[in-house]
Subunit: 336 residues, 2 copies
């Protein structure tokens, strides 16, 4: 029987929560601004409250015997064994915090919901969501890359999350592809995130080489204020054939392709699922990325190379968090 679970995406701005059915996907969902003022305890209270509300709503229509648990994706360093979240970048005032156990306790004591809670890094949760419900569903092994403000990643091997020995695997944004380049980001020279993180894209477009600032169409789109030029403007102009915008996407795709080639060389991963706001540019970035991926790998590694778009948008995290509960249930079932 397909089960259902609660998936939570804890962000610095919003908390998203959903009831996810193992075969149906998201059944209903809620979003609230994250109450960061009262620190971890306040957030746990809010999480438990939201979980209780949506759980009660689920109880009206779903079989409670098939409830698989609560999965939560959170930003920052998550220790999945200890259940701790450490120094989440967008949640000020958190140190290392027992998020899993505190939420579990709060759900039981304040709301009478006795359940297991699983926590996971948000990039990993998103990758797992795409693996089970999204663009990676056809692949046994793949890397999900999220192109947004930052460049993040999650790795799926043999349909399971690869977390690495300390749980920090998948940081493709911090892969170095231009070790003597001029760009320094978070103290490291020549990283992918430093070159194609969202803030850098407009800067790159307006470089002498790419020349976006000389494009009349782009000038028009940003009302002649290039500080207001956005990736959406670059996308629109490129679709209309603007040469500078097309050069920019080709350049972004090419940088991404070099990063993917390194993943192929090192891990023999040949399938890539690309998500995040910037990936909405679709073929504008995927096509040059694929060309570069071919150029940058040995012929013996070309078989099976594939780049596909993510399919779950900003819901990948809640899907993945919930899916971890299904996987965990199955694991127990097959182990027993």
């Amino acid at each position: 029987m397909p089960s259902w679970a609660l998936g939570i995406d804890l962000g610095g701005t919003n908390i998203k929560i959903a009831v996810v059915g193992e075969s149906e996907g998201i059944l209903f969902e809620e979003t609230q601004p994250t109450d960061t003022a009262a620190g971890p305890e306040g957030v746990v209270r809010q999480l438990a409250f939201m979980a209780d509300a949506i759980y009660q709503r689920a109880a009206e229509t779903l079989d409670m015997g098939l409830f698989a648990g609560v999965g939560l994706g959170a930003p920052g360093a998550v220790d999945v064994v200890k259940g701790t979240l450490s120094y989440p970048p967008n949640l000020p005032g958190w140190g290392r915090y027992d998020l899993r156990d505190q939420l579990q306790l709060r759900l039981e004591e304040a709301h009478g919901i006795k359940t297991s809670v699983i926590i996971e890094n948000d990039a990993n949760a998103a990758a797992y969501g795409e693996a089970i419900f999204g663009g990676g569903n056809a692949f046994r092994d793949f890397m999900m890359v999220t192109l947004g403000t930052g460049v993040g990643g999650g790795i799926i091997l043999d349909r399971k999350l690869y977390r690495g020995p300390s749980g920090t695997a998948g940081e493709i944004g911090f892969m170095i592809i231009d070790f003597e380049g001029e760009n320094v980001h978070a103290g490291i020279r020549g990283t992918i995130e430093g070159m194609i993180g969202k803030e850098r894209i407009v800067e790159l477009a307006c470089s002498e080489e790419l020349g976006a600032h000389r494009s009349p169409r782009l000038a028009e789109l940003c009302s002649r204020d290039f500080s207001r030029l956005s990736p959406r403007h670059l996308e629109k102009a490129a679709r209309e054939g603007d040469a500078a915008a097309l050069r920019t996407w080709a350049r972004l795709g090419s940088i991404l392709g070099v990063g993917l080639a390194n993943v192929t060389a090192l891990m023999d991963i040949r399938k890539f699922v690309i998500g995040g706001g910037i990936a909405a540019a679709g073929e504008l970035i995927f096509k040059p990325a694929m060309m570069q991926l071919h150029r940058s790998t040995l012929p013996s590694m070309h078989d099976g190379l594939e780049i596909v778009p993510a399919r779950l948008g900003n819901k990948a995290g809640i899907y993945g968090a919930a899916a971890l509960c299904f996987a965990s249930g199955k694991l127990v079932a097959s182990d027993a």
Copy 2:
């Protein structure tokens, strides 16, 4: 009871074979020039003949009930499931060949040795050898990097070989760290092997920037013929304090360190075992590599970073090939 196995390292120049005891290590060994003239069938005959000879010798002193099998490391693409070796770079005239089954058959039919044969890519075999008998023995997860004519690698996760979905994982030599650099190697721009493969080291040393060609001591060591300058000369001069030689090792270490940083970012691997002829320079290359590894990773990834020398030299492959037989035996035992 500790068992024993035959470990074979099939190279384009030599075949090395050894009797390896699970607790004693190499008990005795033989080397012969590879008979490449008669193609795969000739090599299989030679392998079986050498295996038979050393097996008979082992039979005089070892308990034949504890014989765990034959492991073979080979250059090129090995399919460990099908047991095939494809297009080994230094064995001309081979296509895809059923090396495992043919050797197994030959051992049984021509020599009466009924045993299982395991084949593995040679870089993987070496990494596994270091994992079980060498420099990686203390680590659950590590990457072995071999610095020689090429730059190769093997990845150990949870004390097991990580081969990747198609078996080509670990190609750190083809990782790109200077995607717009001038160096193109095997058609790819800015790879680690292209920059620090053995052939490139002397070229690098004599670049304007590093200035080895202006060092009187290096001129002396290579008898003023810089085309004859070798990594050994650079090592000797550096140990004597020669500035150009020291700059060269610092540069090599730094390039290696960038590559290792990418492994840490992507896979969360923080332990590195470095082997191969060039690694004999020891701290001359390890120290700048470690400094660069720190500089090139996020502080959250610094815990546990370690670079250690490989310990088995050019015997890592035979150790690893034999060790795969022990592991396989254990796997069967614990599965049963």
